[in-house]
């Protein structure tokens, strides 16, 4: 069998690697392998449109025909058990092997599990795959009281949907604020206030003692202060961990994800890693990061295709991310690590505004709420290394557009 490129994981990143390799002129065999049985689909709608509307099916990334046209061999519903670097082959559960010339690991992340008494009750959910989302969507129909554990993007998106469907919703977050690590304090406080207005109970700085059940099914969440919150259903959204076990077992360096260099290659010149599972040195941030976003997976896929083709270059795309929180469209551009100054445009209490993060005079990142125009311009500013002054910001969007030559 002719050795080709084997891609483990057919999510956002993995599928794109296949197509980008063809665009780069790769002519050999491409195998796209995933343990999920379904044609690759969009993950973000699982906590948004799909959850809201029972008539919605998952949205596929590409038609089956597109894979066939590009001669991308799909191996779906097949979990990879091991990587044999000596033989340059992957091994499946049934013992079958598939040799590779180049291997791209795009295995994504797995939702963190709750480690509290009562974690094994039924009625607990999390969202990562279409199956998870389908189960949740079915179970939520008959639930009156819903508790969301963890105030991160996914849990909060779902909380807004639950509330819109008339459920009584409580969000419980251990940290002093929701969205703590992900957005600026101003944005987090705004989202918090908006959710309270919608009738969602948001409990921050709140610990959980255990989940209480009846006949094996969750009934309530007992907080550290001894009070209980009724729960017919609990959604756990406490972050995710990278699926790097395959790489680690194969002796590749892992540290919160598979360690790759700026070209997205591991220390083994035949193995690469991208997307949610990759820990890479970020050009702008000047540090290593692991990012969980569609943009990161898609852009790294396009980039790694070049590396695989023997045209290595440093990955330097500007990160961006979005989250639809009820009536709020949150959009983030850049990374705000090390920011020491935060400038907000738009008056306090306004439903649409942006926060510009600076380190000294250098613009690092921009968080926008219902300001898609700001976000688009911000991506261009950050990519070009242009840092508007506070006076520029005060002058408004036209001034910012003129800075990038429009």
């Amino acid at each position: 069998m002719q050795r080709g490129v084997v891609i483990i994981g057919a999510g956002h990143g993995g599928s794109q690697v296949g197509f980008s390799l063809r665009q780069e002129g790769y002519d050999g065999p491409i195998h796209l392998v995933s343990d999920e049985p379904d044609l690759p689909y969009h993950k973000p709608p699982l906590s948004k449109a799909y959850l809201k509307d029972v008539s919605q099916d998952v949205q596929i990334l590409r038609a089956e025909k597109a894979y066939a046209d590009a001669r991308i061999e799909l191996a779906l519903g097949r979990k990879v058990e091991a990587i044999d670097r000596q033989a340059r082959a992957i091994r499946f559960a049934d013992g079958a092997t598939l040799p590779y010339e180049r291997l791209v690991i795009v295995t994504g992340a797995t939702n963190r599990k709750l480690a509290l008494p009562g974690h094994d009750l039924t009625g607990l959910h999390s969202i990562r795959t279409r199956t998870d989302a389908a189960h949740l969507r079915e179970a939520m129909q008959t639930a009156g009281d819903i508790v969301v554990i963890g105030g991160g993007f996914i849990g909060l998106e779902a909380a807004a949907t639950f509330a819109a469907l008339g459920k009584r919703v409580t969000v419980i977050e251990l940290a002093p604020s929701i969205l703590g690590r992900a957005v600026s304090a101003v944005v987090a406080a705004h989202v918090d206030a908006e959710y309270r207005k919608l009738g969602i109970r948001v409990l921050t700085a709140t610990g959980i003692e255990r989940l209480e059940g009846e006949a094996g099914k969750v009934k309530a969440v007992r907080l550290s202060d001894g009070t209980t919150v009724p729960a017919d259903l609990v959604l756990v959204g406490i972050g995710a961990t990278p699926n790097d076990a395959l790489a680690r077992d194969a002796g590749l360096a892992c540290d919160n994800g598979i360690v790759v260099d700026a070209t997205l290659a591991t220390a083994d010149p035949t193995i690469f890693a991208i997307g949610d599972v990759a820990n890479f040195p970020h050009a702008h941030a000047g540090r290593r990061v692991r990012l969980e976003s569609v943009q990161n997976a898609s852009d790294q896929a396009k980039h790694v295709a070049k590396t695989v083709m023997g045209k290595p270059d440093d990955y330097r795309e500007t990160p961006w991310f979005w989250s639809d929180q009820g009536h709020m469209k949150l959009q983030m551009a850049g990374l705000s690590f090390g920011a020491d100054r935060h400038v907000r445009t738009g008056a306090l209490g306004e439903p649409a505004f942006s926060v510009y993060h600076y380190a000294g005079d250098r613009l690092l990142a921009v968080d926008s709420v219902n300001r898609p125009g700001d976000h688009m311009v911000a991506r261009r500013l950050i990519a070009a290394g242009i840092s508007p002054s506070e006076a520029d910001l005060a002058e408004g969007p036209d001034r910012l557009k003129s800075l990038i030559g429009r």
Binding site: D324, G373, R380
Partner: protein, 105 residues
Amino acid sequence: MSQVTFIERDGTRRIVEVVSGESLMQAGTRAGVDGIIGECGGSCMCATCHVYLTEEDFARIDPPDAMEQDALEFTASNQRPTSRLGCQVKLSAATDGLTVTVAEA
């Protein structure tokens, strides 16, 4: 039943039967039209569903809103006066017969 015609970059014409309520991007990805990607799933963020309309078609459907105009201006390459992002064009009986060309990369 309404239809939309996609013209791929190599000139191939692809006629797609529209499922009511879907977007131009969804119709294109569902049918495997080459060059219609929709990375962000329809959030008006990535501009990988950029198409050109004919002048007549552009004039007869709802115009792009501010968000789409910004996305076109700042993320799409090779923008033209009749550019649209497929994810923001909802298809219905009223859009029957639309002919769109996949934008240059």
